[in-house]
Symmetry: C3
Subunit: 128 residues, 3 copies
């Protein structure tokens, strides 16, 4: 953790740079100061089939979900959320300027008692 | 929001029309009267690797998840769920008639305090 | 239910056998004794775009999410979790031995009042 999952309609291929978006989210997550570098995992899932709003062919969406361990204060969670959403909004501004796009983001907490992990990257990155 | 995410085993390609399913869910979501058209986002994710039940090669599944803002009554949520599930069941009836298919659906709520969105479609569609 | 969703970075193609991982999870889920065979659905989602930790090109991840009906005791859930995580760790041991990999797993419960399903496999498998 944290896990960032970017879901998007496949008609954004060629209209948005999803790889750059993933990297910008990673960078912003680091800059919040809440997360250890070795723990950050951003990934994107392209959705080939979709049905959005009025079905105009130009309609597209990006939804970003952050899943992270429970326990932080609401203020901290909202501060993380504002930062990530501002970054995503900036990256996708050209799309938001046209009336065919929806961007959304939410945070979901993971119960620490129902979570298991092994991270082989931490020793390498903590030693660096 | 609402977000409908259709996950399915890739062996349904050629056996089910996932695009039509997405569009039927969109249409039914509209007809419930609970959702604004510009907010509806249905998408499907194809899963190439899977292991279902007894591993019979014909085994397949569709799982639909609705993620929507928290706050509606249980009755309203159940009413939405019944309508969407009936639509999906109708669309996928030929599969349900064979003993190799599982269809499931669930609703998950999103904490409004941990949710951010910008929707450039609303002004266009509200004005229409 | 239960639903196992395996998300992984696409740079694992050729480095990990995701199909075998799915089958091992299915087998282990059966062996816990908590789940009916016809209900088990394991699937994997490959993520082509990602940004992990320090962006080293070798960095990769697998995240497994189990979504199952609410109502089991914490002890039972933890017992299921330990078993599945041990199986996944064993399957992915070569990756965990290198400092470029993160494996994680969590359990999420589904509200039975907001869940619908039709399973055409049960009659066939219960009769078997």
């Amino acid at each position: 953790m944290p896990h960032f999952i970017v879901e998007y309609s496949a008609n954004l291929d060629g209209r948005a740079d999803i790889q750059t978006l993933c990297e910008a989210i990673r960078e912003q997550a680091l800059q919040t100061g809440f997360f250890e570098i070795g723990a950050i995992r951003v990934r994107a899932i392209s959705c080939k089939n979709f049905a959005i709003a009025d079905l105009d062919e130009r309609n597209a969406f990006v939804h970003i979900k952050l899943r992270m361990g429970a326990g932080r204060s609401l203020d901290d969670k909202r501060s993380i959320g504002e930062a990530i959403f501002a970054t995503a909004s900036k990256q996708l501004k050209p799309l938001l300027d046209e009336p065919y796009f929806g961007l959304s983001f939410d945070i979901q907490e993971i119960d620490p008692q129902l979570s298991w992990k092994k991270n082989a990257m931490h020793p390498r990155l903590r030693g660096a």
